[in-house]
Symmetry: C2
Subunit: 232 residues, 2 copies
Amino acid sequence: MIHRSTVHEVLIAVFQVRAFSDPDAPELAVLLWQRALDPEAGTWSLPGGTLRDDENLAASARRQLAEKVDVRSVAHLEQLSVFSEPERVPGDRRIASTFLGLVPISAEPTLPTDTAWHPVSALPDMSFDHGTVVAHARHRLVAKLSYTNIGFALAPVDFAISSLREIYGAALGYQVDATNLQRVLSRRGVIEPTGRRAPSGKAGGRPPALFRFADNSIRVTDEFAALRPPQT
Amino acid sequence: MIHRSTVHEVLIAVFQVRAFSDPDAPELAVLLWQRALDPEAGTWSLPGGTLRDDENLAASARRQLAEKVDVRSVAHLEQLSVFSEPERVPGDRRIASTFLGLVPISAEPTLPTDTAWHPVSALPDMSFDHGTVVAHARHRLVAKLSYTNIGFALAPVDFAISSLREIYGAALGYQVDATNLQRVLSRRGVIEPTGRRAPSGKAGGRPPALFRFADNSIRVTDEFAALRPPQT
């Protein structure tokens, strides 16, 4: 084998639930930018790039994300898997540490002209293995929605349960029942009532109660009762 | 800053629940080898080493683990975080992808002379940041015990609940109630009765029922009922 240089890069899959064609049917979207230059000019890439000598991966992810989006709108950022297949890109070997980033539905960050949100269900022609990275990150998001409070980073500050149901449905890729969602998330202390009601109900009925997430950093919400550490 | 080369390495934290001084009080142990040469000669390191040009991280982890332990005894191996602080080791920059490995309590793999199990509660003088890697991996193991069936990789093929309680207690670092453990793990379909009983009870009483894990690969065991995909 010919010896090649190896560089380390970060790639960030930033998701937001957004309305595209139908304002009543929001979808999970991912932030992509279009390559102007070869290799693979015209294809769409995840934000990211080469790790600098003087930064760790998390700092690099934040720095490179800032080139594409206002990072203050990113409510959650965490490391996912490393993509390390020797031939994953042409030329020098590139080992990619991937990150998951989440933007609340209520944020509308300004984007550079080469950058846009795309529905995960209809990705454009993707660069290299970036489509696989998106699929992996979405899979992790779905898993984490089931055992953590990570929904806080997709939801607005306060919300009616019907809105939260749309957000979960878009992120999961299938519909969930609003009553079950409220019951399970309330019982686990993930969401709590704000004591206020929305200005008006969508259908003109009684204004719905508003809820909020109890925390705005990630935690496992369902430790087995039997496995909790002793209270001290 | 002086430009340095960057190499990528893997480090594997392999855990097993083992009895040390007290045969009735097994502890969580980690597999370490003692460095004969500088840097840091005499300190203890995790299995691992430099990624080769022609292998991905998972293949590298398996190859390097095989130098220290019979990998057939490793029932579970998964990627954890990347340690990427620029100055984490002297000399060339080394970016470390870390792995979690688990060996069932019933296995007694042969080890090279430089390699030994150490209780996590009393680690020897550790090389570089390897002590931090062990702490991080243990933290992830504890979390995963709460929302997955990962205990399968620490337990023997079949076991009395009293034995499983000792294994969970050692891995978690605090005691759990045997009745709760059986109820929660049974309800979630993590463990199931084998229909057989142990040859004899420890205290000479009625032989205890034997259980087994329902699966021998990892899965999330507690997706919210409300968040499960529709059955098709």
